[in-house]
Structures are given as C-alpha cells and as structure tokens.
C-alpha cells in the first residue's frame, strides 16, 4: 500500500521489524524459560524439576515469527492504525440490516430444531446458548440500561435454581407454579441485597455484588440440611407439558397426542421453553425502555446528578433495575434446574458471573442483538472446541482479550436511542455512557 519513500530508506522498516520481533522474542524467552521450560514434578525425593526446552523454543520461535509477520503486514508503518476496524460504511449497512437480522435470527431459532439435518447435539447446544442469551439479556437491564456494574449476577441464577429445586422436591409444586415463584424470590433477593448497597458507586458496587455472589455460594455450600451442601440436589422433577409427563406411560406426552414415543420430545420442549423465556425477556426489556422507568434507567446511566436534580428517585430506579434483572436470572435458574435435574454450588461460581458479564460487554452493552451474537460466539465457540479441551480455556481467555482490544465497544457497536427527533437512527456505541453505578 504505502510505497517506500526512497531506496535508501527502504530496508529500514524490515530491519526495524526484525529488531522489534527480536525484542518480543527475548521477552517471550524470559516469560517462557522458567514457566514452560522447567516443570515442577513430584518425585520420590520430593519436588523436582523436569526440563522441557522444546516448549520454550516453540514459544520463542512462535512469538518471533508472529510478531515479524504482524510487523510486516498489519502493523506496517504508514498503515492506518484503525486498519482492523470495520469501515463506517460497512457499519452503517450492518446497522440498517440489523433491523431485519433480529427477526431473521428469531425465525431461524424457531425452525432450527425442526430442520431434517438437525441432530440432538445441536438442540442441546441451542438450549445452552439460549440460556446464556437469556442471562445476558437479564444482566443487560442492570449493566447495559441502568449502568450498574453487577459482578455477582450468578447469585440470583442460583437463587432461582435452588428455589425451584427445593419447592418442587419438598412441596411437589409443578414447574409452572415454581417458575414465577423462583422469579419472585430472586427479585426479592435482588431488592434485599440491593437496598443497602445501591448507595455505593462504581467499583465499590462491583466488589460488593461480587462479595454477595460469593456469600450466597458459600452459604449454599455449607448449609447441609437445607441445600445438600457440596452434594447439591439431585432428582429434581423434570418439566411436564402442562401436567403431562414426557414418558412412555399411557398418560405420557406421546400417548396423549398419539405420537410414537421419542426422548427427543422432552428436549424439543425444553428448547422451545427456553426460547420463549428468552424472547419474553427481550420483549419486556424492549417495552420497558419505552416506559418512564426504562427512560429513567437510561437517564441514570447517562448522568446520575442530572437525574437527581430532575426529581428521579435514584434509589427506587436502581432497585427496580436490580430486581428485574434478578427476576430474569431466577427464571433462567429454575429452567436450568429442571433441565439438569441436578444442581450444586459448583454451577454458580464467580466465573459464571464473569462469563455473563463478558457476554454483555463483548456483545455491546445495551444492544439486545449484540448480546445474542456474543452468547452464540462465546458459548457456541467454546462448545465446538470441546475436542481440544486442554487448550480451549486458554484460547477462551485470549479471545476475550483480543475482542476487547479489537472492538472495545463490543461486537455490535451501534445503538438505537430510545428517544429521537423526527426519525429513528442508529448511533455509535461510543456516544453512550456506561454509568458509574
């Protein structure tokens, strides 16, 4: 692209690139020599070291070659810095087509399990992805709309799951009664935890929500007689088709509707159940944004002081966002419990909160479509690499870093404002504040 300025100066970029790659390789050597090169191993005589110089060599050569290649191509001097960024024109087209992409994606989600070539594995994966889409949309209310950084979202997911499991097991209540109850209980916990801490701002709020997430997990882990402790709760009742079981018996789903029995029926039912729940979350969010409370959330995210001076009750506004987000997590949690049939505190670790938050931010905070895209990319991608299980977490972490460096505003970086003059149009995500808690 950029022609060399003069023949004399021509070789210098190459030398500079090699030099730079050399420095990078040297740093890689420093990093890799002890960590990759010397492996601590338990031997007869205590701990010992086993050298693995080959791994160091591979790491250093890979860094050198990679850096050199990047220096000569993408990072070539003279090349525009934003070469990796998507050009505004493409972005605008994407934003225009996004209007149709959403309904198309929903349509695809509805017909996907019915397509002839869809295997059971794909439906299972779909259920998993949709669970995270729903959680992402739920958290999006808290983080994306109200601008409250919540690092303990998984606590409400846990409350929902345990509510369903305990209510169904101890009182024999059906899924359809437990589902709203679980949501209400989770929302109740959201209010209970939110009330004292919502005066805190920004990162203080983040750390307290993280602490609450951990507290709930530790309590679940140690309250043996109530929650089963680390053993969790097993034998949670499976979902029924409004009271009709999915089994072989004469009263089963298949017999009632005159179908031949297939285990796939239950999976399909679960799939459509979570799809419906996720779409309800989405619909509620979209509608709420047009209500005074939704506008208050967004106003709060943009400028809290202005809100207060305009007479918005910030505590109540934050609490509703917190409670609604928690409620959807509760729904998702009770779905999770009925799908798995077994829950334990293992499923509700901080990593899950971080993952859901990552989905919201990577997708583009506040963008419903972006969150769904991020959930498909992260969870779907993660599952597809199941065969490389050794390296998939490493790659997962790296991909998170790279996506953020590449697109700090998330994969979908345009937002549609709730309030507009004359015509509705998408704006850049960079114009939207993120709130300070």
């Amino acid at each position: 692209m950029a022609a060399p300025a003069s023949p004399a100066a021509a070789p210098s970029p190459l030398i500079a690139a090699v030099k730079d790659a050399g420095i990078a390789a040297l740093i890689a050597l420093g990093l890799a020599l002890p960590m990759l090169g010397l492996v601590t191993t338990q031997t007869q005589a205590g701990m010992g070291l086993v050298p693995h110089w080959d791994r160091v060599a591979i790491a250093v050569v890979a860094v050198f070659a990679g850096r050199l290649l990047l220096n000569l191509t993408l990072w070539r001097p003279g090349r525009r810095k934003s070469a990796l960024a998507v050009p505004p024109k493409v972005e605008a087209t994407l934003a225009r087509t996004a209007k149709y992409l959403g309904p198309l994606a929903i349509l695809f989600a509805i017909v996907m399990p019915l397509l002839p070539f869809t295997e059971r594995y794909a439906i299972d994966l779909g259920i998993l992805v949709l669970t995270y889409v729903m959680l992402g949309w739920g958290l999006n209310i808290v983080v994306g709309l109200a601008g409250l950084l919540d690092l303990g979202y998984v606590a409400f997911y846990a409350v929902g799951a345990y509510s369903y499991a305990l209510l169904a097991q101890n009182f024999g209540l059906s899924f359809w009664i437990c589902l709203p109850l679980a949501g209400i209980l989770a929302a109740f916990w959201g209010v209970l935890l939110g009330f004292p801490v919502l005066r805190l701002r920004g990162d203080y709020l983040a750390i307290v929500t993280l602490a609450f997430g951990e507290i709930i997990r530790i309590v679940l882990l140690n309250w043996y007689w109530f929650t089963g402790g680390p053993n969790g709760i097993s034998g949670i009742p499976r979902p029924t088709f409004f009271g009709i079981d999915f089994d072989r018996g004469p009263d089963g789903f298949a017999a009632t509707f005159g179908l031949s029995y297939s285990p796939l029926h239950r999976i399909l039912f679960l799939y459509y159940l979570i799809l419906a729940l996720a779409l309800i979350t989405n619909l509620v969010t979209i509608r709420l944004r047009r209500l005074p409370i939704g506008r208050a959330w967004e106003a709060l995210r943009e400028d809290e002081i202005a809100c207060r001076s305009l007479g918005i009750n910030t505590v109540n506004t934050k609490l509703t966002a917190f409670a609604l987000g928690a409620m959807f997590a509760g729904f998702a949690g009770s779905f999770f419990a009925t799908r798995q049939g077994f829950i334990s505190p293992e499923s509700f670790v901080f990593m899950e909160s971080a993952l859901i938050l990552a989905i919201v931010v990577l997708g583009g905070m506040g963008s419903q479509f972006g969150v769904a895209v991020a959930a498909v990319v992260m969870i779907g991608g993660f599952e597809l690499f199941r065969e490389f299980s050794d390296y998939r977490m490493i790659t997962f972490g790296l991909v998170m870093v790279l996506i953020m460096v590449w697109r700090p505003r998330g994969l979908v970086s345009s937002r549609s404002p709730t309030v507009f003059l004359k015509e509705k149009k998408a704006i850049s995500g960079a114009l939207v504040q993120e709130g300070h808690g």
């Binding site: 740093i27 420093g30 990093l31 002890p34 960590m35 010397l38 492996v39 601590t40 191993t41 338990q42 205590g46 701990m47 010992g48 070291l49 791994r55 983080v143 950084l149 004292p196 801490v197 005066r199 805190l200 701002r201 920004g202 990162d203 203080y204 983040a206 750390i207 307290v208 993280l210 602490a211 951990e214 507290i215 530790i218 309590v219 882990l221 140690n222 002081i305 990593m351 971080a354 938050l357 990552a358 931010v361 990577l362 050794d390 390296y391 977490m393 490493i394 997962f396 972490g397 790296l398 991909v399 998170m400 870093v401 953020m404 460096v405 700090p408 505003r409 960079a430 993120e434 300070h436």
Partner: protein, 304 residues
C-alpha cells in the same frame, strides 16, 4: 489468652500476604481507575516462579537457606514483574482511554488465560514443598498452651515491614513516585508537564507484580503448597482488602489486608471455618455502607 495471641500472630501473617497483594490492586486502581482482575493470577504466577527458582537453586546445589531465599526473592520478583509488564502491554495499554468496562473484561480474560496457561504448563496437581525453614520460638509453655511463632512467620512479617518501608520511600521520595502520584491526580496534566504517562503506568504494573511475587513466595513458604487456582481466592480477598482500606490509598491497602487477615483468622478460630469468607465479605459490605469510600480513602467528590 495464649490462644488469642496465637491467632493474632497467625492473622497478622496472613494479613501481611493480603496487604502485599492489595497494594498492587490499589496502585493500579489509583492510577488508571481499573480493577486489575488478573492481579490475583499474577500473584499465583509469582508463587510458581518462586517454587521453580527455589527448586532450580536446590538442583544446582545452593542449599544455604537465607542465601537461597534471597536469590529466589530477587529472581522471582524480576520474572513476575516481566509478567506484569507483559500483561499490561498486551491487554490494557491498547484499551487506555477506552470506556471503563473494556479493560475489566480484558482483565477477566487475562485472568482466565494465566490460570489455564499455568495449569497446562505446570500441571493441574497441587505442588507441595517441604518446609524450607522449620522451627520457631515458643512462649508460655508453663500454662499448658503454647504460642508458636515460626521462623517463617517472623520472616513474613519482617519482610513485609521492610518492603513496605522501602516502597513507601519509593513512592514519597523518588521522582518515579512523584510521577506516579501526579498521574494519579491528573493524567493529562502530568503528560503536559513532561511525565511519561505510559512508562509510569507500566512501572506501576511492574511494581505491583513484584510485590505480588513477594506475597507469592511468602504464601509458598507459609502454606507449603500451591496450585494454579490460588490466585482467584487470594485476589478477591486482596481486592476486598484494598476496597476496605479505601481504594487508591497505599496505607489503606496494608491496613485493609491486615484487617481481612485478622477477621478471617479470628472467625475461623472462634466461630466456624466454613463461614470465614462470609465474615470477611460481610464486614466489607457493612464498612462500605457506613463509610462509602473505605477506611482511609478520600471521599469521591462529584463535579458537575
């Protein structure tokens, strides 16, 4: 009484470790306002590097304990600092000036990466180390209950005090410390006045990582066993300590670390081991409700 004293000593030891990690959080937060979630894992990397260097020294025949520990301390600090620098360079510097949550997510990604990198490189099994400096002093044997102060505990508290003193001098007396404090107050203005902001931030990460590696070495000596997962819990506790003390304040981080260590130890000793984390986190929440900017933090003034 002896039991109380014993727990006090244990708590101070644990608190010193938390305090050293907390300084890394609080410095980074003070200067660029981000939660460096990967810091706990940098601490874990520091502990592993200390173990590797120690074993390497044993393998080449340096077994005189004080000398070996000194070399381990210096080499592990240098290598961990390199890790800290690289993490900042790759994951945070490109996001400078970006919105607030981007570096947070990047840090979470880095944390996942470091954990799994160490797991793959060094194996998932726990790494035990036979006591390097066994023995210690005993008090109050006459009453029937003995207060033990091991050499390792003395070393940890002594080294923490020494390092803290040096570190405080570094921040208050040198030009680097002055640049750091200037960047903390106003990055743009500092840059206008000729402070190399990028370099200062890099050095902040380097210092934080070096202190974390000291904590890692102490953890290794005190508990005698490490694995790739220790970073998360220690990191969350240390961050809690930093917030408790008032984030951005260096003495606050140390005070918060000591408090968290003491709360945890006393709660385990007098109530229940299972709920020690609940106690620590609950006290954090209570303190924040009444003192929203921590114990020694400056109140955040909003300007319109």
């Amino acid at each position: 009484m002896e039991y109380f004293l014993q727990q006090l000593i244990n708590g101070v030891t644990l608190g010193s470790i938390y305090g050293l990690i907390a300084i890394g959080y609080t410095m980074v937060y003070g200067i660029i306002g981000m939660i460096n979630f990967a810091h706990g894992d940098v601490f874990m990397v520091g502990a592993f590097l200390a173990l590797i260097v120690y074993l390497a020294l044993v393998a080449i025949g340096i077994t005189f304990v004080p000398l070996a520990l000194l070399i381990v301390l210096l080499v592990a600090m240098a290598l961990t600092a390199l890790y800290g620098w690289t993490v900042e360079r790759i994951a945070y510097r490109p996001l400078r000036g970006s919105f607030r949550l981007a570096p947070l997510i990047s840090a979470i990604g880095m944390s996942i990466f470091l954990q799994n990198f160490v797991q793959q490189a060094q194996g998932a099994r726990v790494k035990p180390l036979q006591p390097v400096a066994p023995g210690g002093f005993q008090f109050g044997a006459a009453d029937g209950f003995v207060v033990n102060v091991s050499y390792v505990q003395l070393m940890i508290v002594g080294a923490t005090i020494a390092i803290m003193t040096g570190f405080t001098l570094l921040v208050t007396k040198t030009s680097l410390g002055r640049a750091q404090r200037a960047c903390e107050q106003d990055r743009k203005m500092a840059a206008l006045l000729g402070v190399d902001v990028d370099r200062t931030i890099s050095l902040t990460f380097v210092m934080g990582a070096a202190l974390a590696s000291v904590a890692g070495l102490m953890y290794l000596l005190y508990y005698g066993v490490i694995d790739f997962y220790i970073g998360f819990v220690a990191g969350v506790k240390a961050f809690t300590a930093a917030v408790l003390g008032g984030i951005g304040s260096l003495p606050g981080a140390m005070l918060g670390g000591l408090l968290i260590g003491l709360i945890e130890t006393f709660w385990s000793a007098y109530f229940s081991v299972e709920y020690k984390d609940v106690a620590a986190f609950s006290i954090l929440a209570i303190v924040l409700i009444f003192l929203p900017s921590g114990l020694l933090g400056r109140p955040e003034v909003e300007k319109v």
